[in-house]
């Protein structure tokens, strides 16, 4: 069985984001990169399958700038067998990313049975790659999964919907599954695992190698800037009972004219 896990490297959640001076992207030089947290559930699920099926091969695939390959190394230290890296700018759009991931999976020569991703990446929150990838492969896909059971080529997944209800799907492999928090508890990469990961194979591709060119871009970014700073909140003192009516009228007035919420 061939399992692929697509992982993205995203800025650590504590990173202070600064747009570049020309507004074309964000400053990446001082960012500490981590594996996208939802992708950790994806990697863990692949490894859980491998535990019960030791013949399974788990390949992790990442697209991004090479600088450091934290996410791939972490995944291999957790137990993935090998990795592929597609060297590309960090601000590609979802379509190009999905096309490149498919290109790299095709290039591996291994027919995918299961492709796992996170349900979204916490940097651009586009929530599109798993679905586009599944379309390109012509595979079914289920996203936001919190439960996984497999018997042969039949997979039963649970998916969270609004209000906490669960939908249960039965799909057959090959399939693209996008993981949500709650699917499992991602393991730590152990120290021996970290050491072993250094010897595991990692293929490197350019965008051209996997068949992606500039013409594939569907979204062009016109600029990056920080959201406007929130003005400080206003406080209204209504402790004096005699003045309460007046204060309430003032607040209601401001909610109408200034905040325009009522």
């Amino acid at each position: 069985m061939n399992i692929f896990v697509c992982v993205k490297q995203v800025p650590d959640t504590e990173t202070k984001i600064i747009p570049t001076s020309d507004g074309s992207f964000i400053e990446t030089a001082s960012i500490k990169w981590i594996m996208n947290p939802y992708d950790e559930y994806a990697v863990e699920q692949a490894l859980l399958i491998k535990t019960s099926n030791p013949a399974a091969n788990v390949t992790v695939v990442r697209l991004g700038s090479v600088k450091d390959t934290e996410a791939l190394r972490t995944a291999m230290a957790m137990g993935a067998d090998d990795a592929a890296l597609i060297e590309a700018p960090d601000n590609l759009d979802s379509y190009s990313i999905a096309k490149a991931l498919k290109g790299a999976i095709d290039k591996s020569g291994k027919k995918p049975d299961l492709i796992f991703t996170g349900k979204q990446a916490i940097d651009d929150d586009a929530l599109q790659v798993p679905q586009i990838l599944a379309e390109m492969f012509n595979f079914p896909s289920v996203s936001v999964i919190v439960g996984f059971e497999q018997s042969g080529t039949t997979i039963k997944v649970k998916r969270e919907v609004e209000g906490g209800a669960l939908e249960v799907y039965e799909v057959s492999t090959p399939v693209v599954l996008a993981a949500n928090k709650g699917l499992n508890t991602p393991r730590y990469a152990s120290l021996p695992g970290i050491m072993k990961a250094k010897k595991k194979p990692m293929l490197q591709y350019s965008l051209g190698d996997v068949g992606v060119s500039d013409a594939d871009r569907r979204v062009k970014y016109s600029g990056f800037k920080l959201p406007p700073e929130k003005p400080p909140g206003k406080k209204f003192d209504a402790t004096d009972a005699a003045k309460q009516k007046e204060v309430v009228a003032q607040v209601v007035g401001l909610l109408r004219t200034e905040a325009k919420v009522i």
Binding site: A77, Y188, S190, P192, I194, M195
Partner: protein, 378 residues
């Protein structure tokens, strides 16, 4: 000269810090309050390869250097100095075997620690002999095909859970340090009597007890080195372990500084965050300066050891400087938190209680200065 950690070391540190943040910090307060031994956390850390860093690769260990060891130690102490005392006591007890054991002894005693989660205790201190360790009175008598141990040990970390004790005693107390010998005693050996768990000021999750050895028989092959070589093994153990103990002070100090920086930016007095008051800034600057200097000393003391160079003097600098700094820094952290710092609901008072022990065990800050002076005036 290169002050940078290798990429391996950065990864080791990141893993250990992640473990400290996710698995230790959230539980530290509770284990401290109830004096609960952190068995599950200890085991989890072992599963990740964070425990027993001193075991060489040929006996199943990870083959970490001393510098790797202090990097891990600092990160785990960042999570909780008290829990880290339990973790570190394993290394302290296994080091005499690494240093003074034969190949057969290493296979027999070290390898099981890499295959299964096990706990060890180092038994040097006695009720009447702490700093003056060469005066220990525990008797190791020749019983023909075995040794017979009789004596009282005091302040023994991990004693209540130990699968293995490394016990120092004397074959003849009139020989002073020339009579001191070290034997390995398996945890289940008849005649070992555990005292009650000490109710301590800090490091309350660690298990500390007196241990009595009443006619405890151990096989002849359990002695490390020859009779009378125990003192040399103990001194060499300290050269290896003092940087490690110092790294624990470093982790605690770093945590106190991180908390101080965070709190001082949030707490408003006189209309500004207290971090804007110069008196507070100076306390934080002092913390940063001491931590940086202590880290350099700790890394150097471990590095010298890795190079096979004598590090006795630098190890004492590191141990005394890091632990004295940790005491000052954690005290100032309480000061920066003000009244809140004095409350158990905030994390800094525990750091201050925990810091105190590091100035005491593994040679008090005074004994470290004796060692330094002895080396300097030689």
């Amino acid at each position: 000269m290169d002050f940078a950690l290798s990429s391996d070391q950065l990864e080791i540190r990141d893993l250990a810090l992640k473990f400290a943040r996710n698995e230790m910090i959230p539980h530290a307060q509770e284990y401290d309050e109830h004096g609960k031994f952190p068995a599950e956390i200890f085991k989890k850390a072992w599963e990740l390869g964070l425990i027993n860093s001193c075991i060489p690769a040929e006996y199943g260990g990870s083959g970490f250097s001393g510098v790797d060891g202090v990097i891990i130690g600092e990160a785990l102490a960042y999570g909780c100095m008290g829990m880290n005392t339990s973790f570190m006591a394993n290394d302290l007890a296994l080091l005499p075997i690494v240093i003074g054991g034969s190949d057969a002894q290493k296979k027999k005693f070290l390898t099981p620690f890499t295959e299964q989660f096990k706990i060890a205790s180092f038994c040097l201190t006695e009720p009447e002999n702490g700093s003056d360790a060469s005066g220990i009175k525990t008797q190791i008598k020749d019983g023909g095909d075995h040794w017979i141990i009789n004596g009282d040990k005091m302040w023994i970390t991990n004693a209540g859970f130990a699968d293995l004790f490394v016990v120092y005693g004397t074959i003849d107390s009139s020989l002073k340090h020339k009579g001191i010998s070290a034997v390995v005693v398996e945890g289940k050996t008849p005649g070992i009597e555990l005292g009650k768990k000490e109710d301590k000021m800090g490091h309350r999750s660690s298990d500390t007890r007196g241990v009595k050895f009443n006619n405890v028989k151990v096989p002849k092959e359990n002695m490390l080195g020859k009779p009378g070589e125990g003192w040399a093994i103990a001194m060499s153990t300290l050269d290896h372990s003092r940087p490690l103990v110092a790294s624990s002070a470093l982790g605690g100090a770093q945590r106190a500084m991180d908390l101080s920086i965070q709190y001082s930016k949030e707490r408003i007095q006189f209309g500004v965050p207290i971090a804007k008051h110069q008196a507070v800034q100076f306390m934080i600057a002092e913390m940063g300066m001491k931590i940086e200097a202590a880290r350099l000393l700790v890394h150097k003391a471990a590095w010298l050891c890795d190079q096979g160079k004598k590090n006795t003097e630098v190890a004492s600098y590191a141990k005394a400087f890091a632990s004295d700094s940790c005491m000052q820094i954690t005290t100032d952290a309480v000061q920066i938190y003000g009244g809140y710092g004095y409350s158990r609901e905030y994390p800094v008072e525990k750091l201050m209680r925990d810091a105190k022990l590091i100035q005491i065990y593994e040679g008090t800050s005074q004994i470290q200065r004796l060692v330094m002076a002895r080396e300097l005036l030689k």
